[in-house]
């Protein structure tokens, strides 16, 4: 219990990932959805770093770097699109964006 092993970190990561999933499924506001996505990415980062640290391998940390970089660029582009959509339609509610219904 007091000895922090890899399992602890992995369980934590899973927990945070689940929270992120809840957010993704629950949120109807697009901006909130982006927040939940950030949570997902961060939880995965923890897992990578933990595994890398416990196995003495730097691959995990490298992965975490690239995830951060990608997340940053994703936010930039995503927010840009979001702003455009808001300017065009005046709201960012997911339920209103159904032009791709099948």
């Amino acid at each position: 219990m007091f000895e922090i092993t890899l399992q602890h970190y992995l369980i934590l990561s899973t927990l945070l990932f689940t929270i992120g999933l809840i957010g993704v499924m629950r949120r109807k506001n697009l901006l909130m959805l982006f927040f939940a996505t950030e949570i997902l990415l961060n939880s995965v980062n923890i897992a990578f770093a933990a595994i890398s640290s416990y196995y003495g391998d730097l691959t995990g940390q490298m992965f975490a770097f690239f995830v951060i970089a990608i997340a940053a660029s994703e936010v930039a582009v995503g927010l840009g699109l979001l702003v455009l959509w808001y300017k065009r339609t005046g709201k960012i509610d997911l339920d209103a964006m159904t032009s791709m219904r099948g």
């Binding site: 499924m25 949120r27 339920d95």
Partner: protein, 635 residues
């Protein structure tokens, strides 16, 4: 010789097809003349074959082609012309030719003139197939063929509902009997290994009595339908809805005699089961009496003649049942001639009376229709069995057969029926041709039929007169080569003369009584008409009502129930299967509503399922699990 066989067989078919070409066109006289001519050709071919057989020729057997050759069953389209079939062929072609000639005049003003000849010739073709076939299945084809053609012809005036109803009644009753006949044929094949007459009859003596009895009974039930024996008799009277030539051909001479032909043809079988023969004879006698009583009071001219046919068919079955097959066939032949003549004469009267059928509305037609009067009287005399016309030789012979075979009850019944026959025949003649004129007040001015129609009827009249005297001996010589040759002699000469003279006197007395009662001013007697016996006879013993009430209505209710079942169960399940697809589609198409949130949810759900599966597989395959399960004893 085979050429004549094929000609006799197929000429009517060619005529029928030719007339069918004109089916939908206006009346074209050529559509009547060509089938008649072809039928005359068939008649000549049959005559040629008759001469050949009479001269001692061997029966001609041909096989056109194979029909079924599967496993142990071999059935071919085979035809045979032997003594029995040549007699039938002569009867059929003679009467058919006369009826065709008559129809050209009778159907003169009818719109369906061309169609009529097509049907009529098709009927003759089917009948020829029936009598010329050499196996039971070929017989059955002809059997069904005449059934269909009779349906077409009875319901010829199809816009009349009574006609279509009568046609359906005839066909359905025949169908019921055909079921039994098919069972009989199956039994024959099953027990003897073949459906050809020769081979089947050769194998029959080896079979046990119960099988043979079954066979005989079932085949006879089929004959009952075709020959309208009780209880399948109601269709014959109703079949008078068809045109009169149809009645003359089908319901006097040919189709209804098919049943008798079957029994005669199957004589080796019926010789082995004499008990069934006695039953057939008893039923025949019953029908003879039964029909004669119904004819006594009827007010429909054609119906009286129809009941007369029914009665005479009963006579034929008595003869056949008692083993006197050649007598039955002889009566068949003689009866065909004078009964057809009667019907054709009735047709003349009908035309002259503008389709009036009630003899009480006619009367004193002998002045305006002299020739028809003579012909019909001649036919009635033949029917009554007065020496030396044909009826005497055939009908009285049947009486002798019954007497000689010691079936005295049958003899008495047949004797009484002979008296009744004479009575109602001459009642009809007297009402129509003698007495007072009851028709002019209805505005009907009768005239005689066309000349060529009368000339056409003449051969029948001649045959009705001479067939007995002239034909009997050569017929006997010829036919007994295939049929059992039993001479029926009453050994005691006194008894014989008493019988013969007595019968003649009885019959003449009945004729005189009929003339006395009806050949004068008659009016309908209300008191007699309301009597119980009269009502019973007039309504045909209420049998048609009984059938309608208990069979037709119940069957209709059953059909309606089945229809509902079909709708609710079968249709519902088929629709249900289709609906499943429909509703599944409707319910799941919300998956694709374009909403990102929903899609994300489905994504997560899919991921979860995959995760669970992966976990399950990994855990399930691992050694630990295998050991666990093995220790538990499951694997």
């Amino acid at each position: 010789m085979e050429f004549y066989l094929y000609t006799a067989l197929f000429a009517p078919l060619v005529g029928s097809l030719f007339a069918a070409l004109f089916g939908m066109s206006k009346k074209n006289i050529i559509a009547g003349i060509i089938p008649t001519a072809l039928l005359f050709v068939s008649f000549l071919a049959s005559l040629n074959l008759l001469v050949y057989i009479l001269g001692g020729g061997a029966p001609i057997e041909v096989e056109l082609m194979t029909w079924m050759a599967t496993g142990d069953l071999y059935v071919g389209y085979g035809f045979v012309v032997d003594q029995v079939s040549v007699v039938m062929m002569m009867v059929v072609t003679t009467v058919s030719t006369v009826v065709h000639i008559y129809s050209i005049g009778y159907m003169d003003h009818d719109k369906g003139f061309n169609r009529f000849f097509s049907y009529l010739s098709a009927f003759v073709f089917s009948m020829m197939v029936l009598v010329m076939s050499d196996n039971f299945l070929g017989l059955f084809i002809g059997w069904e063929g005449v059934g269909v053609c009779s349906w077409l012809l009875i319901g010829f005036w199809y816009h009349k509902e009574s006609a279509t109803w009568a046609a359906n009644e005839a066909f359905i009753m025949n169908r019921i009997a055909d079921l039994a006949m098919l069972i009989g044929i199956f039994l024959v094949y099953w027990n003897t290994g073949s459906v050809r007459y020769e081979e089947a009859f050769a194998a029959m003596p080896a079979l046990d009595a119960s099988t043979l009895t079954m066979m005989g009974i079932f085949l006879f039930i089929g004959a009952m339908g075709k020959s309208a024996q009780f209880p399948l008799h109601t269709w014959l009277a109703d079949a008078m809805e068809g045109p009169t030539p149809v009645s003359a051909l089908i319901h006097a001479a040919t189709m209804v005699t098919a049943g008798v032909y079957l029994v005669v043809r199957a004589n080796p079988l019926y010789d082995l089961i004499p008990d069934v023969g006695v039953f057939i004879a008893s039923l025949g006698a019953f029908v003879a009496m039964f029909a004669a009583t119904m004819a006594l009071v009827n007010r429909d001219m054609k119906r009286v003649i129809a009941y007369s046919t029914l009665s005479q068919l009963g006579y034929m079955f008595v003869a056949a049942g008692l083993g006197a097959y050649w007598v039955a066939l002889f009566h068949l032949m003689a009866h065909a001639f004078f009964k057809a003549l009667l019907f054709l004469g009735a047709g003349n009267v009908m035309h002259a009376m503008h389709d009036e059928l009630d003899p009480f509305k006619m009367g004193d037609l002998k002045t305006s229709m002299k020739w028809t009067w003579i012909l019909m009287t001649l036919a009635s005399v033949a029917l009554a069995g007065i020496y030396p016309l044909a009826g005497f030789f055939s009908k009285d012979l049947i009486l002798e057969v019954a007497f000689v075979e010691h079936h005295y009850i049958l003899y008495t019944v047949l004797l009484l029926t002979a008296g009744l026959t004479a009575f109602y025949s001459f009642r009809l003649v007297a009402l129509i041709f003698h007495g007072d004129d009851r028709h002019t007040e209805n505005g009907v001015h009768p005239h005689e039929a066309y000349n060529f129609m009368l000339w056409g009827m003449l051969p029948l009249a001649i045959l009705a007169v001479v067939a007995g005297m002239i034909f009997k001996t050569p017929y006997y010589e010829m036919v007994t080569q295939v049929l059992p040759a039993i001479e029926y002699h009453i050994h005691n000469h006194t008894v014989f003369w008493i019988m013969t003279i007595g019968t003649q006197l009885f019959v003449i007395a009945a004729i005189v009584y009929a003339y006395k009662k009806y050949a004068k001013a008659v009016k309908v007697d209300k008191k007699v008409e309301s009597g119980v016996i009269y009502q019973l006879l007039f309504n045909q013993y209420y049998i048609p009502k009984f059938y309608d009430e208990y069979f037709s209505k119940m069957y209709q209710q059953l059909s309606e129930m089945m229809w509902k079942l079909d709708q609710k169960v079968v249709d519902a399940s088929v629709d249900g299967v289709a609906n499943i697809f429909y509703s599944t589609g409707e319910k799941t198409h919300t998956m694709q509503n374009g909403n990102l949130s929903t899609m994300l949810r489905w994504m997560v759900a899919g991921t979860v399922i995959l995760l669970v599966l992966a976990l399950a597989f990994t855990v399930g395959q691992s050694e630990a699990t295998v050991e666990l399960l093995r220790s538990l004893g499951v694997i």
